[in-house]
């Protein structure tokens, strides 16, 4: 039987941080190393280390991993190798969700061209965080808590199912913040285009089946809200 797994390519601090953070989400987390013999010897992380090389044809993955339900992280320190790895994975697996790490904008563009579904621009993200610390420290703290910390304030995605009682209602008529204590930040339509709740276009939007609402609220309110509306896909 094929496994649902998180495949992390590269054995370094980034890989270990990713593995630590996602270990609860995936039943199997594998770290792939280019220098496996040495890395296995010094490995104290508790994660299984496998070996790979850039000319790999990924037969083992094909046999054992459920590609559609798995995710791959390309975090090799050498940008050229990371891009090559991304291309190699994409050319073998169309359905694999690939997240890659880039050090600069140029590499980020190349990784996207190589087929990564999502690129984390390391330097840019770090810089954004620092500038937010300086210019909007409260915004930074609040959003950081909402996203990364285990506080009571949460963010969630609510999918409107076909039995939802709000289908057909104009979005401007809905006031969930007072009724349920949750706040809608944005709506993602079926075609995956995003519209923020504050834009003028959205005022006339009629709630449809499969609309995805991005909401913020306290955990308890979220649960109440879930009972009343649709499913929270957290």
């Amino acid at each position: 039987m094929k496994n649902r797994a998180a495949l992390i390519f590269g054995y370094n601090d980034y890989a270990l941080e990713i593995a630590k953070n996602i270990r609860d989400e995936y039943e199997n987390v594998y770290l792939y190393s280019l220098n496996s013999e040495y890395d296995i010897l010094k490995n104290k992380s508790g994660f299984e280390i496998k070996s790979f090389d850039l000319s790999d044809k990924w037969d083992e993955l094909n046999e054992n991993i459920d590609i559609e339900k798995s995710i791959a992280f390309c975090v090799l320190e050498d940008s050229a190798e990371n891009i090559f790895l991304t291309i190699s994975l994409r050319s073998s697996f169309d359905a694999l969700n690939i997240i890659a790490l880039s050090n600069n904008k140029q590499t980020a563009n190349k990784l996207q061209m190589a087929g990564a579904n999502k690129v984390i621009p390391l330097v840019q993200t770090t810089a954004e965080m620092i500038s937010e610390m300086l210019q909007k420290p409260i915004v930074k703290e609040v959003f950081h808590n909402i996203l990364f910390e285990s506080g009571t304030l949460k963010i969630a995605q609510v999918k409107i199912d076909e039995n939802n009682k709000y289908i057909g209602e104009a979005i401007s008529d809905i006031d969930w913040s007072r009724r349920y204590g949750v706040m809608i930040l944005a709506i993602v339509y079926e075609d995956m285009s995003t519209e923020f709740i504050y834009s003028s276009k959205i005022k006339h939007h009629i709630v449809n089946k499969n609309d995805l609402f991005i909401i913020v609220g306290y955990e308890a309110d979220m649960k109440e809200f879930e009972k009343m509306t649709g499913s929270i896909c957290d």
Partner: protein
């Protein structure tokens, strides 16, 4: 110690500990000598204006009769102001009380007898070193017409023009640059003097006996030599004999070499000192800044941070010991100085006040050792300045905290957290990311509730944010340091609170204006 000595030493201690006396002396020092003092420039402008007025009056007076009031103004008023300035400079040039105290304490420490006359000699020496400084001599000569109205002494008014040099920094820079080439100028002077002397003697010998020649005296010969060697050549005195013309040819060639030598000395002095001059100018500009961010280390993260902060109203200053990184910062349009951020002397040289001028210090070297070192250095100077540091290896987190960093950013940990969000709530993550970066023209801002606002707006219901299509995400209460999400209408607004609002950037600005204008009815 005899009675007189005791009296003098007591008097010195009294002056040295008198707050009023020291405050006054400090004020006059600042206004006369301290370039960082905000009112000094006004004093300088005032003095420059006086000098120009004085010189203009003098020029007009050369050929026409001067108005009696203007004459009085020039001779007495301006001279009196210069005299007061001279006395003040004399006063602040050294501290008499400190010299006496140091002599007295020195004698006590060594168990020797204190001699008042030695202390007085020390005071006189210190004051004379001021009196005989070039600037002080010029100052004194500029006052002389006040005391003597003799025709000859009026020429000394020209010294007032020289006083301008005291107030023009560029001239001081020019002389300091040239002073680095003293030896070269000495050689040039020697060479020119020899050529002038030899050529003067030769031209005098060759020409003086010829009745057709304009060279009649040795002074004529000297004058001709100087005019020729300087390549000016007025033509009022020219050699008429063949021998004299041969001498002239040699002097002309020597003149060209003197000119070329002089030019090359000046150019090389400026080339060598150009970076230093630029640095001095940069430091001067930094000292004048009221608020700025100080980035220590200009590597890739620092470059991105600088790009993001460039649009903010606060200036960014970069400190780095690596010249290539400094050049890169300068290319990016930033103010950058090639000083080591881990060295206390760097901050002393720049002369900035970390507590009042620096908003935050960003230790952004991609090297924990450097960041810890810089943090510790800065913390040893200021206990209060906000320090944000980059952390490359989580094992060093405690070291950075211990060194005194207020906030630490660990990019590797950030990647881990982002990865978790990307697999758990990818859409929600993207939405927040877009919101934070104003991707769709929708922004999230913090609005400070100031004293006035809190008096005119008591409850959340009075904000009227819906009218501006602004969503109030929550209120950050300063007192409790807690964030209240989706506050009830009856929530009290207090001075120091922050409103976290989301909406179109333009609407947020309008909303903020509305909050400031709103008056309680």
């Amino acid at each position: 110690m005899n009675f007189l000595s005791r009296l003098v030493v007591d008097g010195a201690y009294f002056l040295n500990t008198s707050e009023a006396y020291q405050r006054k002396k400090r004020f006059f020092y600042d206004i006369l000598e301290n370039d960082r003092f905000q009112y000094k420039k006004y004093f300088d402008i005032f003095m420059i204006t006086l000098i120009f007025s004085s010189v203009i009056i003098l020029i007009v007076e050369v050929k026409s009769e001067m108005n009696i009031y203007l004459k009085f103004f020039n001779v007495y008023v301006i001279s009196f102001i210069f005299f007061v300035e001279y006395i003040l400079r004399f006063w602040i040039s050294s501290s008499v009380s400190e010299i006496i105290i140091s002599r007295s304490e020195h004698a006590t420490a060594l168990g020797r007898k204190f001699y008042l006359y030695k202390a007085i000699i020390g005071v006189i020496t210190a004051k004379l070193s001021f009196v005989f400084s070039i600037k002080a001599i010029i100052d004194l000569l500029a006052i002389l017409p006040f005391f003597h109205e003799l025709r000859l002494l009026r020429l000394f008014v020209l010294f007032r023009v020289f006083k301008l040099f005291r107030y023009t920094k560029s001239f001081q820079t020019f002389t300091s640059v040239l002073s680095t080439k003293k030896f070269e100028f000495f050689i040039l002077l020697m060479f020119s003097s020899v050529v002038i002397f030899v050529s003067s003697v030769l031209i005098y010998v060759m020409e003086a006996h010829n009745p057709a020649s304009p060279v009649n005296t040795f002074f004529d010969a000297l004058y001709w030599s100087i005019v020729t060697i300087s390549t000016v050549g007025y033509g009022d005195i020219v050699p008429v004999t063949t021998e004299g013309r041969i001498v002239a040819a040699f002097v002309i060639i020597a003149g060209i070499s003197v000119l070329a030598f002089t030019t090359s000395i000046i150019v090389s002095a400026f080339t060598e000192k150009l970076d230093e001059i630029r640095e001095i100018k940069t430091i001067d500009n930094i000292r004048k800044l009221k608020h700025f961010y100080l980035i220590c280390g200009y590597e890739s993260v620092a470059q991105e941070v600088a790009k993001k902060l460039k649009n903010s109203k606060i200036t960014i200053i970069v400190l780095d010991e690596d010249i290539e990184r400094i050049n890169s910062a300068k290319k990016d349009g930033l103010i950058a100085i090639n000083y080591d951020p881990g060295n206390i002397d760097s901050y002393k040289k720049i002369g900035i006040d970390l507590n009042t001028q620096v908003e935050s210090i960003l230790c952004l070297r991609e090297n924990d050792v450097e960041n810890v070192y810089t943090t510790l250095t800065v913390r040893s100077i200021s206990r209060d300045v906000n320090i944000i540091s980059l952390l490359m290896d989580d094992a060093n987190r405690n070291k950075l905290k211990f060194a005194g960093a207020n906030e630490i950013l660990y990019p590797k940990g950030l990647v881990g957290m982002i990865s978790k969000e990307l697999i758990g709530r990818p859409v929600a993550f993207e939405v927040i990311h877009a919101l934070r970066n104003d991707y769709y023209g929708v922004d999230v801002e913090e609005i400070l509730v100031d004293e006035r606002m809190s008096q005119n707006l008591v409850h959340v219901s009075e904000l009227n944010n819906v009218k501006f299509r602004i969503v109030l995400l929550g209120i950050y209460k300063k007192e409790t340091k807690r964030f209240f999400f989706n506050p009830m209408d009856g929530t009290l607004l207090e001075s120091g609170d922050y409103l976290l609002v989301i909406g179109n950037s333009a609407f947020i600005r309008e909303f903020e204006k509305h909050l400031h204008k709103k008056i309680r009815t």
